[in-house]
Amino acid sequence: VSRKILFITTDQQRYDTLGANGGTLSRTPVLDRLASEGIRYERAQPTSVVCMPSRSSMLTGQFPSTHGAWMNGVPLAIDAPSVAESLHDAGYATALIGKAHFEPFMDPFGLYAENALANLGIPTIEQDWFDGRRGVHRGFDYLEFATHGVMGALHYAKWMNEQHPEAIRSFYQVVDREFNVNAAGGGDTDAPQVKFNAVPREWYHTDWVADRTIRWLEEQAADQDWFCWMSFPDPHHPWDPPKSEIGRVPWRDVALPVNYPQSASERESLLDQKARHWRAWYDGRLVSNYEAPAKWVPATMTADQVREVNALNAVEVELIDEAIGRVLASIERKGWGDDVDVIFTSDHGELQGDFGLLFKGPYHVDGLMRLPLIWRPARSTAPQPSVVHTPVSLVSLAATFLDIAGQPAPVWVEGAALPVDDQDASQRSFDATFTEWDSSFFGIDVHLRSVVTSEFLYTRYQPGTTHDGSEGELYDLTDDPLQRVNRFDDPAMTAVRATLSERLDDHELRPGERATPGVLMAPV
């Protein structure tokens, strides 16, 4: 019996938001059960801490410096390699339902297929493929898109505008009149990107993504192999879950995050140990990227705002868990329960109060880089539950899907299939992951390269507008799991730094064909 694949992603979800990972704020029984039945990864890292490069790595099995979509707003080449194309060739029905984001959302000139399909009313479109053939868009037979809220031309926004126009104004306005990420506050604490949303739960995008996935699955023949990427836009900001649900996690009862320094002096002291752009952003002296509100100054954030954001984030995580439960139940009803591999992860994390910061940017610490990753192999394979402590990268997902499908990994894949336990990881030399950041935003250029091992997190800053190439960060993950003490200049760490620097050099010089870096076409 061949194995079907349900690939579930969320957007901007931290490792510690799941009960299986020790989280206590959200109740996530569905994902916790998958973790207990399968493989839970203790240190899963993205190739990038923003959406488009990270998601493109999931699809291509390549690092951003290879696939060329180096930052949000840089479209992945239409003929980039795609694991969905390989699965399609292997006879799999292929679908992506929810948030794709391989192409920019801001698209006033109508350049991108992702933004056109809803209006065209067709499930996919023929495009050039990596190997010179033409086929369905990036290998997907069926595409139905959603993003954060109800803006834009995607399927969910169109559905809301057609079916429930009265609820449109209930959502938070994600961008302001100048098309910057909106800094406007809401909720009880006036926290940025927060709003009480009167939309009924069943119309919210989390349930919509699950509903559309269930519908697609029900249309498949019982003996059809399939690969379904179900991609929830939450718990990415805005934090505007249905108001009917926010009583689940009363924000006044929420403890402050363990890595939120409560006094301004402590926050500033911690930030001053890091590369200079951390403190500059906190103080409102630097905006290096589009992903946080340009007009919001982190230093103004209050403890109560952190509590409220974390509470609403937890509500969104619970809604996702319940939506996944509905999809899994539909799979059981179809009789596929033993034949489906389920893989769950997120594209990157969220600072959520760590170091007094919110949102994301060029900040390579666990808040953004340590992700939930669960693989529940098909029950028909009699999987042995395990916990993998070795660092693994989401660049391994494409090879993992192909391995599940019994297909060889093509030459363009840069990551080997995920290990099933630490012994497997050791035997196949998994020992480090790499994360890249390259941004160029209104003349502010920032370039980071990070390597994570079981013991250390090391970031090297390449020369840019803000950094001269001499700065870096080195954290001992054993003694300093919160990454508060930067040991980059510690003489006792000279040898460690040299070794990790060599690993970064090796990553930069790795063999293989690279795509021409794409052009920044939009802010996001």
Binding site: G73, M106, P108, F109, L111, R177, E178, F179, N180, Y290, F442, V519, L520, M521, A522, P523
Partner: protein, 75 residues
């Protein structure tokens, strides 16, 4: 919009939302026989949307180069 064949100058505006201001100018400057420099400059508001123009300009310059070079071969 204005076109000046003598000066090899083209200027245009986008007057539709979401732009609150836009002015695009393309100048072609002859720097040698069969060799020209094309300058495409744009001013746009709001700032964020200028990024969209900047991205589109790269493709436009590529297309202008292709057109110019193909017409040179043809002639």
């Amino acid at each position: 919009m204005s076109i000046d064949d003598t000066l090899r100058h083209f200027a245009y505006r986008i007057t539709a939302a979401p732009y609150t201001f836009h002015l695009g100018v393309i100048d072609v400057i002859e720097i040698a026989t069969n060799d020209s420099l094309c300058v495409y400059s744009t001013t746009a508001l709001p700032d964020t949307l200028a990024l969209l123009i900047a991205g589109g300009t790269v493709g436009a310059l590529d297309q202008i180069q292709r057109l110019a070079e193909s017409s040179r071969v043809a002639s």
